[in-house]
Amino acid sequence: MLTYAIRRLLLSIPTLLFISFVIFMLLQLAPGDPMAQVPLTVPPEVKQKMREALGVGEPALVQYWKWLVQVFWIEPQVAIDAMFGTSFSEGKQRVISWQTRSPVMDIVIQRIPQTLWVVGVAYVVGILIALPIGIYSAYRQYSVFDQAGTFVTMIGFSIPPFFTGPLLIVVFSVWLGWFPSIYDTTHVVNDWASLKEQLQQMIMPVMVLALQITAMLSRYMRASMLDNLGQDYVRTARAKGLSESVVVLVHVLRNSMIPVVTVIALGIPSIFGGAIITENVFKVNGIGQLLLTWLFANDLPGVMTLTFIFAVLIVMFNLIADILYGLLDPRIRYD
């Protein structure tokens, strides 16, 4: 198991390097220009000067190399400095966003809390709702509950968030005035009242996202439960005289969770990636919104670093999912 994990980890390094290179080259091909947002009243010569100041003109490979050094050598030093108060990174050039002229990582770290609050909570809520629905629909397959659950989850799956989002805003913000339509990222939770406010502003984006997550996960859970309910060992368990709840919630559930847990793990990178559309609709300025802004501003270092972080997360959680699978299922051995 350990050698397997290490081998996979080492293998992921060339993979990630390759991915970063591919993303970088794609970005290089982009016809966009970081000066696109500068108004027309600024003359071209000035724009050209600004471009030069950002180092846009350098050869692509030089830029890539610099970026690699910054991400893999200098940023870790910055992280160490921040944690232990050392000063390894002093005076070294970090990855600087073209648009904000500030270190990309600082902004990313600034964005993580709101993304985690909203998308993370939605994920947890989604899981908590999805699992019982999945279990019960499978146990009572073709019952009214199952049919209704199937219908609702499928609807949830098929309605895009840019439809549900504005709909919720009109109903709950404009008509009823219960929840704010604009998420306050500066809100600090330090007592019950502020927690209540935080919950109020979270509830709509969380609802929109959780609907989709629930829809997806409950389908998986149901399918997996159905697979296992028909297995012979279930009959054995019953023959031992175990109660139904033990049979279903211990024997069957434990087996059914194996694939579902890995599906859940594989979904985690998307939490960090933010939900681009939902964040946009509710002005939760999280990572997804950041990526969108930078993409439209042609902020190459920002987009590059952010997509790379996503890729790292995806690769990492793929690995975690595989290892989890091995841990949960004693039959699987990786070596």
Binding site: T3, I6, R7, Q231, D232, Y233, V234, R235, T236, A237, R238, A239, K240, G241, L242, S243, H251, R254, N255, I258, L328, D329, P330, R331, D335
Partner: protein
């Protein structure tokens, strides 16, 4: 006298099934699983329920447990009377599931058909064993563990302490089945239902398990309902026998009555179809079986020729085991090791041996369906080992294979006509209407109606499917057919038909067979020569008669003794059994396997004298 144990006081039946009827609601309307079955099981008695696949054996037993309901069945008639431990007699059909839960696992134990899947893969053996104990006997964790250990010792599992912390997949099939038995016995049930507990197992393990159950019955006085379709097992185990046929009980009697004087035609036919070890004693040549209803058809011995068709020498096949950081080969499975034999035209050589000893690999290596490490395979025309892909393609026209599992060896998505004509299309030996005629002829040959040509494999029974496989192997008029466990998966009755068919074809067409099987009785029936394999080597090779009547190698002897004989008067006792577990065929890279050396005890009868691992 009066305060004797209740089991002895009450000598009446423990369980009594009366006019049981079970229906299943399916999408195509109700299906009857069991139509009308009545019998009883007494304390300390083994009642064997026999009948072909689908006759309702499992359904009857599941009804007793009231588990049919979870599979969509419904007990629509009859009574299931059961004597509880406290003397109360209840009708299980009216008990509610809550109360039933208390009876299941406590007073009725059940051993299921499939040892491989009956255990929950993600819990340890210990946990699964103790679960029932804690529910029914209210034991605490440690006591339950003690009791579980005790049970494992009773079923004679080696190293019981270690087993408790292992997962089911870490045990061999035989051990798993013993765990399932231990589980069923956990609470000392009054009734033990065993649903084909040995069908999936090897002869040697089967023998052990049968002996084990027999001893337990004798020691605890449990009533046993034993379900099987193997008549040899019945002869070995039963006190009384119930014969079922298409959802009905057709005959019931003591084991001797049934075997010696069967009344119902079905029982007669069934018994006639069972090959019995020793039937061919005294005969040199194999001959087809005599089946009920075909008495007019006098079986003719099959002579064959003495021309060599296939000569295999020093064949070695290994599979690499990869591991470590760089996925290099760290060890090899020595599946076939220094194998030599010859097959004559029109004759059959059988390879027998335990599961995993390399029989299939040997067969596949000859066709180069797996690549052998070294050795020569000389076939009729040429040296198979030295051929390139194109030439090999050509040679395969003369060498065909019938695979172990008729369910698996046919493509479920192709119609039968397409499957049978595929080899001819591949070699371009026929096309158009000629092709169609050829296929039709092949169907006639294997006695399948031509109307089946448009069907799909799932629309046939197992025996019919195996005949399709045979027809496909015959399509190219091969000279050699490798029949890998061609009949093992079939019901006895069907097995008999397929064996006869194969032998008829041999007589007619002069085919050479390499017949691979672990069923000694079948092998005795069909072979001219026999090779006994153990751990990749042939330990004994010779004419069938010599090997069966005068086994020389220790392993051959052990194997012979393990085979149950379909005769209740020739029961084996547990004492006769003495098996060693098979050593692992996996050896590190660079391991040098010694050559096989033989001693010729009589003409053609050779026995391995170098180390075989046994």
């Amino acid at each position: 006298m009066l305060d004797a144990a209740p089991t002895e006081k009450n000598t009446g039946p423990v369980a009594k099934i009366e006019k049981l009827r079970v229906e299943f609601q399916t999408k195509d309307g109700p299906v009857i699983g069991v139509e009308d079955v009545s019998f009883e099981v007494g304390a300390g008695e083994t009642v064997c329920v026999v009948g072909e696949s689908g006759s309702g054996k499992s359904v009857s037993s599941l009804s007793l447990m009231r588990l049919v309901e979870y599979g969509g069945g419904e007990i629509s008639g009859g009574r299931l009377l059961f004597d509880r431990r406290n003397g109360e007699q209840i009708d299980l059909t009216t008990v509610d599931q809550n109360k039933m839960r208390g009876i299941r696992g406590d007073e009725i134990g059940m051993i299921f058909q499939e040892p491989m899947t009956a255990l929950n893969p993600v819990f340890t053996v210990g946990r699964q064993l103790t679960e029932g104990l804690r529910v029914h006997l209210g034991l605490n964790k440690d006591d339950a563990k003690e009791r579980a250990l005790d049970l494992l010792r009773q079923v004679r599992i080696p190293e019981p302490e270690r087993r408790l912390d292992q997962y089911p997949h870490e045990l061999s099939g035989g051990m798993r089945q013993r765990v399932v038995i231990a589980m069923a016995l956990a609470c000392k049930p009054r009734l033990l239902i065993a649903d084909e507990p040995t069908t999936a197992l090897d002869v040697t393990i089967q023998a052990e398990i049968l002996a084990l159950m027999d001893r337990l019955k004798r020691e605890t006085g449990t009533a046993v309902m034993f379900i099987t379709h193997d008549m040899a097992v019945v002869a070995q185990m039963a006190d009384r026998v119930v014969v079922m046929f298409r959802g009905n009980k057709v005959e019931e009697g003591t084991v001797e009555e049934i075997f010696e004087n069967p009344q119902h035609p079905y029982t007669q036919a069934l018994l006639a179809a069972v090959p019995k070890l020793g039937e061919m004693t005294g005969k040199d040549l194999p001959e087809p079986m005599r089946l009920v209803g075909q008495e007019d058809h006098v079986p003719q011995p099959i002579v064959g020729t003495n021309e060599t068709l296939l000569k295999v020498s020093n064949l070695t096949t290994r599979f690499a085991v990869k591991g470590g950081f760089f996925r290099r080969t760290v060890a090899n499975v020595h599946a076939v090791e220094d194998l030599s034999f010859t097959i004559n035209k029109g004759q059959t050589l059988s390879l027998v041996g335990e599961s995993g000893c390399g029989k299939s690999t040997a067969g596949r290596s000859i066709l180069r369906l797996v690549e052998p490490q070294s050795g020569q395979v000389e076939f009729d025309c040429c040296d198979v080992m030295s051929l390139d892909n194109k030439a090999l393609h050509k040679v395969r026209q003369d060498m065909q294979m019938i695979f172990q599992d008729p369910f698996a060896s046919l493509n479920p998505q192709m119609s039968l006509i397409d499957q049978v004509s595929e080899p001819m299309l591949n070699y371009g030996t026929a096309s158009g209407s000629e092709l169609h005629d050829r296929v039709a002829n092949l169907f006639d040959r294997v006695e399948l109606p031509r109307s089946f040509m448009r069907r799909y494999p799932h629309e046939l029974s197992g025996g019919q499917r195996q005949r399709i496989a045979i027809a496909r192997a015959l399509a190219l008029n091969p000279k050699l057919i490798v029949a890998d466990e061609a009949v093992s998966a079939l019901d006895v009755s069907v097995q008999a038909q397929v064996i006869n068919l194969m032998m008829e074809l041999q007589a007619e067409l002069g085919l050479g067979y390499l017949f691979i099987s672990h069923d000694m009785a079948v092998v005795e029936r069909v072979s001219h020569h026999v090779g006994v394999m153990y751990l990749g080597r042939i330990v004994e090779l010779g004419p069938r008669r010599a090997v069966f009547e005068n086994p020389q190698h220790a392993y051959t002897k052990a194997l012979m003794s393990a085979v149950p004989i379909a005769d209740p008067r020739k029961r084996k006792s547990e004492k006769d059994l003495n098996f060693k577990p098979i050593p692992s065929p996996i050896h590190p890279v660079g391991y040098q396997a010694g050559p096989s050396e033989y001693k010729e005890v009589s003409p053609g009868h050779k026995v391995l004298i170098s180390d075989s691992g046994y």
